[in-house]
Amino acid sequence: MPSTDVAASESTNRKRHESIDTVAIRFCGDSGDGMQLAGTQFTNVSAAFGNDVSTLPDFPAEIRAPAGSLSGVSGFQLSFSSRDIYTPGDRVDTLVAMNPAALRTNLPDLKRGGTLIVNDDAFNKSDLAKAGYDANPLDDAESLAAYDLHRVPMTRLTRDSVDGLGLSQREADRCKNFFALGLVYWLYDRDSKPTEDWVASKFSKNPSIAEANIRALKGGSNYGFSTEAFAVHYRVAPAKLPPGQYRKITGNEAIALGLVTAAKLAGQRLFYAGYPITPASDVLHELARLKHFGVRTFQAEDEIAAMSAAVGAAFAGELAVTASSGPGICLKGEAMGLGVITELPMIIVDVQRGGPSTGLPTKTEQSDLLLAMFGRNGESPVPIVAAATPADCFNMSQEALRIAVEFMTPVIFLSDGYVANGAEPWRIPDLDDLKPIKVKHPTDCDGDSDFLPYERNERLVRPWAVIGTPGMEHRIGGLEKADVTGHVDYSPANHQHMTDTRAAKVAGVADFIPEQDVEGPESGGLLVLSWGGTFGAVRTAVLSAIADGHTVAHAHLRYLNPFPRNLGDMLTRYEQVLIPELNNGQLRLLVRSQYLCDCVGLNKVQGKPFLVSEIADKINELLED
């Protein structure tokens, strides 16, 4: 392939530009093919260009599943748009498949008439067999007739592009994700410069690899430009987002930023204890870099130790946080209860994934809501909040900390694999606009009387006296305590009183949090009630139903315990309530039991987020009844 002088050929090449508003593409290949990297680069470039973006990385739990196997396929889907978007798209407009296994597992998600770009060189006998194909599907004109198929000999073209750099064949072949990326950049008229800069800096110690990747990128772009096969390329104009400075952010990054911000706002230090677990580890990675913010990160020996250390740090007066996923949250349960009975502030982040047990480590699910509510022994209530989108993790992690310190209680923050790994543009906030967080450590003690660790204020909150403070020496722990004095007390009336008090304190959070808002009509036929990472799909489906003239509203819960104080009333104002969840009906169980409101569920546990169409179909079905 001639990857020659672009300027010279430009004059002779008359390719059509078409403008479109929203595009979804997916890169898929072997888990070693660099698809996550290609997707991330495309996202960065599109976000920086000013599109709204939404991403869905989808990768196997195995770091390197057998090459070419169906189980080893790794994908990265993203949507970019000239308007506001809430999801990475149901089906994709363009699918890049680097091998037969990727084609087989991903083709069902390509729109009819969509662009299908395959690495023709990978469709050899052995890889076809590994994907379970008896014959090469690319040769079967009929089966792929619905798509705009482009067979690109990517391996060979990539090798040609990097020829002369002295790379081994293996090294040369590792550049083919950049070739694919370059081709898609051309197809969607993206500027490849930011990616070239990124490559140059990433491989600054290995200039020949840097050069090879850049050449592959350009080779792909030139291929699109020069071949007859691609007659059109597309333009997606920048989105009209609210003015401001933006950056791209993933959910886990946003949690880390939110926590550091909250600590600064509170004028306190952040302590973070964690144990590596997918998909929560990135929170630890992000925070471990921020030592100059005074963040103390502690990679504990296990989940129990991480939770226990957080309890210890809270006793020491730190803003204590731990994060994990379902299996780790199970292990933390006992120490979380210790946080409840000692009434110390801390945050437990649960980045949910498919369960039970090890389940689907890299896939999303919302099935830990009841675990968060009830997963401790005894009457052990804790406030629960959940983020709606990746950027919302920034807000909700601050909210979680604010509730924790205002009410002296552990708070559970629910995220999920989709929110954690997904990315979207984040409008960088003005520091002055952030709500302050108030922390008070008593230091003045009347020398004659002992400090009373369980003396409560009007909101039933006890004081947070910090160890090391003279005159406030006190002992707390896991045994039931007498109110006010904090002495060990097993008496029947005291346990009743303390149990009721802890419950009343947490219930009182409802007066502290905002009322539930609703998108759409304030009463009428159907309310769709959702929580967590399903926000985007539900919002998109409801807005389109409203646009079609239906009386449908959407309420998205960010506060799950206690519920917003107006929720009960809101539920009575609609004829039907639909609760879509990536579980078997956990929010529905809570809403039914608390409000005696008979809700309809839409439930899915397939390790994947909802498609907008799945929600839309259910809305239509309910409206037709």
Partner: protein
């Protein structure tokens, strides 16, 4: 500038809580010696924190008028790690038992010691579960008959000091609850050590495992059954100080009678600061009745201390990058402007 520290006494460390251990429990003595040691350290009372797990020993913090945290079963070293990392300026003691720290909490003990986090861990070893009324523990000798092992226990015990030394302990010691002066000395040494100080105390549970350590506590036996370790001194023991420990050609310890051609120079000399832990390990494995059991400081070496290193990284990072600034953090990486 000199700050006058108030002179504290053992009384200042007594809380107003009624002691609820069984009469003649070994814990009383350990508590009494602790209250004696703390005032000698020149540290204000509010700078002490006692953290415990679950078990009889773990009630300890309630009886000290310091900051105290009664944790959950086995997790005291992890809770205390959170405390110490956050507040390296405080002296943090962990009070635990054989079930608490070697069974349910074995992992936390091992890792606290490995990190050499500056905790003073006192393990009350009574070879039994007392609070749950008498099941065998991970330190009960093979064949121990209890409610849960009516035909005798069939699993081998752990030796706490072997676990500590195997976990790279920088300080490991043993004392006996009723040997008051010696226990005080060991606790003092632990208090002054920088890094994890691990102390095993033989503690008599006179209700469920009475006399388990009588060989080491009874006046007329103990000189024959214990060896008091002293740094740089030969291992001599016996009422008449006429016996010693020698290492034979197989690198194993053996008991020898002094005199008749064997002098103290032929004996094993204690070196608590040895570079390798093999001597400490050999001593920790000496068991009664085959051998006299060593007490005192087995090992006391310097190693980097986790909480100090972590806080030093923070200071370095602030020095290098300046104190963290949110504005800069928010705008790091690629940003773009929407008009």
């Amino acid at each position: 500038m000199s700050v006058e520290l108030p002179v504290l006494t053992a009384k200042d460390f007594a809380s107003d809580q009624e002691l609820r251990w069984c009469p003649r429990c070994g814990d009383y003595s350990i508590l009494a010696q602790m209250k004696k040691v703390l005032p000698t350290l020149g540290i204000p009372r509010e700078k002490f924190v006692f953290v415990s797990g679950i078990g009889c020993s773990s009630r300890f913090p309630y009886y000290m008028n310091t900051y105290g945290f009664h944790g959950i079963h086995g997790r005291a070293p992890a809770i205390a790690s959170g405390v110490k990392i956050s507040r390296p300026d405080l002296q943090v003691w962990v009070i635990t038992g054989d079930g608490d720290s070697l069974s349910i909490g074995g992992n936390h003990l091992m890792h606290a010691i490995r990190r050499n986090i500056d905790l003073k861990i006192v393990l009350f070893n009574n070879q039994i579960y007392g609070l749950t009324k008498g099941q065998y523990s991970p330190t009960s000798p093979l064949g121990t008959r209890t409610k849960s092992t009516p035909f005798g226990s069939i699993d081998n015990p752990l030796f706490p000091l072997c676990v500590a030394i195997g976990s790279e302990a920088s300080f490991a010691a043993r004392a006996v609850d009723v040997d008051i002066k010696h226990l005080t000395m060991v606790l003092e040494r632990a208090a002054h050590h920088s890094g994890t100080a691990f102390v095993e105390v033989y503690q008599d549970c006179n209700v469920f495992n009475s006399g388990a350590f009588s060989y080491a506590s009874k006046k007329d036996h103990k000189d024959d059954n214990l060896i008091y370790l002293e740094h740089g001194k030969p291992l001599v023991f016996g009422k008449n100080r006429d016996k010693g420990i020698r290492v034979n050609e197989m690198s194993r310890p053996e008991i020898v009678e002094l005199g008749s051609g064997i002098s103290e120079d032929d004996l094993l000399f204690h070196d608590e600061r040895a570079a390798e832990p093999s001597l400490a390990f050999l001593l920790a494995r000496m068991r009664y009745p085959e051998f006299p059991e060593p007490v005192g400081v087995f090992r006391d070496v310097e190693r980097p201390v986790y909480d100090q290193a972590l806080n030093a990284q923070i200071e370095d990072s602030i020095e290098k990058n300046g104190e963290g600034d949110l504005e800069t953090l928010f705008h790091s990486g690629e940003t773009w402007t929407v008009e």
